[in-house]
């Protein structure tokens, strides 16, 4: 089953993004992402099971540095 994670990188931005999405009513949580998913190695992402595309758009508009998507998670 696909587990869509929006890869952010630094945990501070991941948490900021999570709070932002929560304010938009989007259910999500911060997770550590796999080495292959993270930009240049270790990092964090936001697991967004539903409304993932909308969530990514909100994050990018808010200046959260999104570096990609991992569909399978950590």
């Amino acid at each position: 089953m696909s587990r869509p994670i929006i890869v952010v990188g630094p945990i501070t931005y991941a948490m900021k993004g999570k709070n932002l999405l929560a304010r938009h009513g989007i259910n999500c949580r911060v997770e550590r992402v796999s080495l292959s998913s993270a930009k240049n190695g270790c990092g964090f992402g936001i697991f967004v099971p539903y409304r993932t595309d909308e969530a990514e758009r909100i994050l990018r508009q808010a200046g959260i540095p999104v570096s990609g998507r991992s569909e399978w998670g950590a």
Partner: protein, 380 residues
Amino acid sequence: MTYLDNAATTYPKPREVQQAIAEAFRRFGANPGRAGHAMAMASSEEMYRCRVDAADFFHAPGPECVAFTLNCTNAINYVLKGLLKPGDHAVVSCLEHNAVMRPLHALANTGVTWTEVQVTPGDNDATVASFRSALRENTKLVMCTHASNVWGIRLPVERIAVLARQYGIPTAVDCAQSAGLLPVDMVDSGIDYLCIAGHKGLYGPMGTGMLITPHGEKLPTLVEGGTGTESLLEEQPSDMPERLESGTQNMPGIAGLHAGIKFVRRIGREHIFNQEMLLLRSLYRQLSVMESVILYTPIPDAKYFAPVLSFNVKGMQSEEVGRIAVRAGLHCAPAAHRFMGTLETGAVRVCPSVFSTQADMEALVWALRRILMKKSGRKH
């Protein structure tokens, strides 16, 4: 115990700060920002909440602007050594702490120069004019204390920041004595770098501080290392705040600092300031009628002073007087003593906290009277 050395570090710390630190050992025992397991995420969450509240307290653009440091000195070093390059010039005030002056002297070896501008207590127009006249073509930074750690003299940092911005020069403010007491609005003021002590007016534990800036991504680093992110990169990641936070952070300290910030918000920064000023003004009045006491500043006016007062006793070294829990000597700020002509004697510094009372002021006056009687050879 009468403790009036709060300008060095506040004591006691609020109960909730002590509890938060103890609790951090139980709840936040894992390294924040590294692993993804539950306790590591809980630590990261707590650290993030502290950033959010600190950013909110100083009205910084966002939590990513808050980098934790060892102390205020550490934050100041980051700014000075990051921004000033050979041939650059800086403008500082004549009241700076060694946290500013010693890094500048170290940078002098690389060709950095600076001008110390005269502060005119009680005349902000004159102070701002001094800053303006010190600016040069190669001035790359204006840095000043928000409030003197010796005399309590406040600098009009908002006006100084506006002035510097007109010339495209960044401003950094040493908030060691002011954070938690004086209002600081980073967004409104346009101050670029706030250097904060966590263990003074914010009531956190010693070993905590912050550098708050929206420009951290461009600031060259002094320390590089593990950040928990982008580990394949050989160079330091650019994202704030991790860029400035290499290595394991002081998690219990940050939890304590967070509790301290919440404590100040709950009591009210302005209320704490007013209460301390009231005590200090009362002390000032008592000291001003004691013939042997030398006071260097006018009675502290809230507009121009922070709640710090220094004095001397005629014919005595400050260290002889400062045997109660106040701080004597030069307070790591020879520039401020040179300004007031007390470089030879030092001074006795009194600084209350939110926990100080009128009884503490009376105890100080009583102790001072005993010292004076002893000095004059009379029985007491």
